[in-house]
Amino acid sequence: MSRQLPKLGVTAYSFTPQYHGLELSFEDVVRRIGDLGIGPGLEIVGFQSIKGFPVIPDGFARQFRGLVDEYGLEPSCLAVNADLGLLPDRLLSPQEMADYLAPQVRAAAELGFPTVRLQKPASPEAVELLLPVAEKAQVKMGFEIHAPDSVHSDWVMALRELYARLDSPYLGFIPDFGSSTRRVSPSVWEEYRRRGVPQEALDTLNARWNEIHGSDQRPSESELMGEFSELANSLGLGSFAHPLAMFCAGIHGHQDPQDWAEIGPQIIHVHSKFFAFDKDGDEPAIPLGDLLKVLVDVGYTGYLSSEWEGWHWDPSPDAAEMVRRHHELSRGILASL
């Protein structure tokens, strides 16, 4: 008997350039996904796709479910936001955070999503307070582990302890493959070379990233951002300094792919992050073969939500075509495992 494999899917976030650019409406995005067969998993970001979220406008749920049924799509995950800095003058308390997230979890149930994506600012205390809401709504809550964080980051370790204590099937993790890159996407350097940044400056940033990657150093997010900002500014990169520092520090992580196995049973959804392809159709920054092997080996059978984020530096490619190529790559790897 063949073993069960993860399922493919996509997040509507991949279409951000065309959606923000008013070229595609939310309905257009879903139809494009359906027409091109780049589901079946469909993830959306509540605060991106639904005006008034977490209040679901009259008729939206019916229309959404109709679209999903029409194309045979499967709601995979609703990305919710832990807006810790919602108020201008102070941060939300854990109870306020739980109260803020509760309607977002209920919105997921209303729209037929089995899972919500939580973010780091939702503390363990808030999640414990929120758990009864998720259990009642029968919606799983997964914390996204995103670059530069890893399964060993302090806040993730705190959650792993909480999960061990609470032992609830409604708590889990969502790996973002950007945490486990093997190099900064060459497409970043190509784009900024095109914009006129000297090769020597790009090489300096790249060398520092590679140096960290090859060492045992695992600086925190703020340390990484501080270091790359300082380095980029010292290279005289002007307005390019901040984005380049962010791409080096905040999007390309250093975690060993194998480390995802440590949380294998708690993986409830995956952001299969990608940026660009080389001439052979491979993703040079993401070790997709290694990552999918780890997931298959731990028995993960949930969705791989293809998340194209190369648009941050080059929004010109067609998102649907990028996701289609990523599915082709993913399908080939899965078939070989």
């Binding site: 976030y13 951000t16 350039p17 959606y19 923000h20 650019g21 008013l22 970001v45 605060f47 991106q48 005006k51 008034g52 979220f53 936001n81 832990a82 807006d83 810790l84 800095g85 919602l86 201008p88 941060l91 973010q119 600012p121 703020s222 941050h312 929004p315």
Partner: protein, 139 residues
């Protein structure tokens, strides 16, 4: 994010008052991918034809009504949705001639889920764009 889209490329609206002053209106886009709290709206570095405009000269259109920009920070439960351009008005200008006028704006917002230390990140983008004066004028 998407700095080239920051100022919507369309005609500059013109409002001429009986008191002899002129206001111009234009629309700006949220430079982020999801809705953000309106009270975190950040407008700075506004200039009209190269001349700086103070925050006290600015209004923004919230739910179809003009509000002084300086009062927006006091709003609660108001959101700037990602697809909705925000109309901005610069008041108390001298006569605005026919033809193109250069508008410069830095537009930003508080990103409440990215907290650095005890403060949420404020993102900004800046753009200068030449907009043609509308041939229609509203008093």
């Amino acid at each position: 994010m998407f700095p080239d889209r920051l100022i919507v490329p369309e005609e500059l609206g013109v409002e001429e008052s009986t008191a002899g002053t002129t206001a111009v209106t234009f629309r700006v886009r949220l430079p982020w991918y999801r809705a953000l709290p309106m009270d975190g709206l950040h407008l700075s570095g506004i200039a009209f034809d190269g001349r700086p405009v103070g925050p006290g000269q600015l209004d923004v259109e919230i739910d179809g009504a003009w509000m002084p920009y300086e009062k927006v920070a006091g709003l609660r439960d108001a959101w700037w949705f990602v697809l909705d351009p925000l109309r901005v008005r610069i008041r108390d200008l001298q006569q605005v001639a026919e033809g193109e006028h250069e508008v410069t704006a830095t537009v930003g917002a508080r990103v409440p889920y990215i907290v650095l230390g005890t403060k949420a990140l404020v993102i900004t983008e800046t753009l200068t764009r030449a907009l043609p004066r509308s041939t229609r004028s509203a008093a």
